[in-house]
Each structure stands twice: as C-alpha cells, then as structure tokens.
C-alpha cells in the first residue's frame, strides 16, 4: 500500500465517522461537529494529493486548504449562532423537536 492510498483511506474513514455522527446523534451541536469532521477529512485529502501526487503547481494544495479552513470557520460561526437561536426558541437542542417549519 502506497502512502497516498493510506492517506486516502484514513480520510475516507474520518469522513465516514463524521457522517455517522451527523446522522445518528440528535444534538444540534454534535451534528455541526460531525460536519466539521467531514470538512477536515476533505482537507486531509487535499494535503495528501499535494504531497504524494505530482502534477500541480507547488503551492496549490496548501492554498486550497487554507481557503477551506477559513470557509469552515465562517460556517461554524454561523452554525453555532443558529444553535443558540434554536435553543432560545425551543429550550433544548433536540433536532427531532425542531419541526416548526415542517410543511
């Protein structure tokens, strides 16, 4: 198994764990953290391809990851603000009970 394959498998496993957290847990904060974990897995892939795969310009992978981290930070800030707004409206964070907008 080459290093690139190892990195890709690690990233796939991390993505799956994030997916399981986001799907199985019912707390809004944990769902958000699962999504962050999936974003991290994607970043891990960028770095793996940057290091172990030739072809791109030298700095491309690193810059890609920097931008992704910045966007993830913005997403987390808005997401946690939404969590606090949700808590104010229904006094808990259970996503099963957040059905007020259901059609």
């Amino acid at each position: 198994m080459s290093p690139l394959q190892g990195c890709l498998l690690l990233s796939a496993a991390l993505f799956s764990v994030g997916l399981v957290i986001a799907l199985a847990r019912s707390n809004a904060i944990l769902v958000l953290l699962g999504i962050e974990l999936m974003l991290n897995a994607a970043n891990l892939n960028f770095i793996a391809f940057w290091r172990f795969h030739s072809g791109a310009a030298p700095a491309t992978g690193v810059i890609f990851v920097l931008f992704a981290i910045a966007v993830a930070a913005a997403e987390a800030a808005v997401g946690l603000a939404l969590v606090i707004a949700l808590y104010r409206h229904q006094k808990n964070l259970r996503l099963q009970e957040a059905t007020r907008l259901r059609g």
Binding site: L19, R25, S26, L37, F52, G61, I63
Partner: protein, 170 residues
C-alpha cells in the same frame, strides 16, 4: 507507510470514534479537539507546516472555544450535558450509510492506478505562500475577507435576542 502515520491515524480515528459514542456533550467536544490536533499532526508529517499551524490556531484554538461556549450557553443544569443515546434504528442506518460510503471510496482508491509518489515534498515557504496569496489569489483572499465579515455579522444577528417593539422605536 511509516510508523508515525499509523500512530496519527489511530489518534485521529480513535478520538473521533470515541466522540461518536460518548453520551456527555463536553467529552465529545474535547475528544473532537484531540482529533483535530491529530489532523494538525498529519499536516506536519506530510510537510505542510503552515497549514498545521493554521489548523491548530483555527480549530484547536478558536473553534473549540466557540463550541464550548455554545455548549455552556445552551444548558440549564449539569444533568443536561448528557445527551440521550441515539435511537437504535437511526444509529443502525447511520452506521450502514457510513460503512457504505467508506466502502465505495476505499474500493475506488484500490481500483485506481496511481502515479508513483514524488520522493520529496514540494518546496513551499511561508514567503512563497504570502506572495502567491497576494498575487495570483488576491481576489479570492479579498472575497474571503468579505465572506468572514458577512458570516460574523450574520452570526451576531442570529444569536442576538429579539428586541421588543418599544425599544426599537425609541
């Protein structure tokens, strides 16, 4: 495939899996911080030092604080930190979905013929990164600043309490 990589993989996946199983919200958040630290270690191992430091600053430093603030702001008593265990049916389907996704990706990884890896990491200095960011990617950098500002304002608007009508008129 080095020993360091295996240890990092165990740290990353182990703490993430433990976070998926713990019932206590604070434990989950702290375990995920450990997982993010492991990812930063992976970046160091791969030779992307600047990204590793950015990861530590943004995730381990800032994001974990924001998450802990959210946890502490949205609870009323000590007992509420225990989130109820996921419903069995949903948990089973979630695990099936996760295994399916990693199975598909893993099969694709093994089925693809990869070029042999370059021996040394691409040479990237912080100076080179700065020049690249301010040169070829300057427009994207400015847009990112606008995005962060908009996200900050949006977060404040969403999280601020609704003011009663009287106050707004005065």
């Amino acid at each position: 495939m080095t020993f360091t990589f295996l240890i990092l993989a165990v740290i990353i996946l182990g703490s993430a899996l433990a976070a998926a199983l713990r019932p206590n919200l604070i434990h989950c958040a702290l375990l995920l911080v450990v997982s993010w630290l492991g990812v930063a270690g992976f970046y160091l191992w791969a030779g992307a030092e600047f990204v590793a430091f950015a990861q530590v600053l943004v995730y381990v430093g800032a994001l974990s604080m924001v998450v802990l603030f959210a946890v502490l702001l949205t609870r009323q008593s000590r007992a509420e930190l225990r989130v109820d265990a996921p419903e069995t049916r949903r948990a089973v389907w979630a695990v099936i979905a996760g295994v399916a996704v990693s199975g598909v990706i893993g099969a694709a990884v093994f089925a693809t013929k990869w070029d042999p890896a370059p021996v040394t990491a691409p040479e990237v200095t912080v100076r080179g990164l700065g020049l690249e960011l301010m040169g070829a990617h300057a427009a994207a950098l400015l847009l990112l600043g606008v995005l962060l500002t908009a996200a900050l304002l949006g977060a404040v608007v969403l999280a601020a309490p609704d003011r009663p009508e009287k106050e707004e008129k005065s």
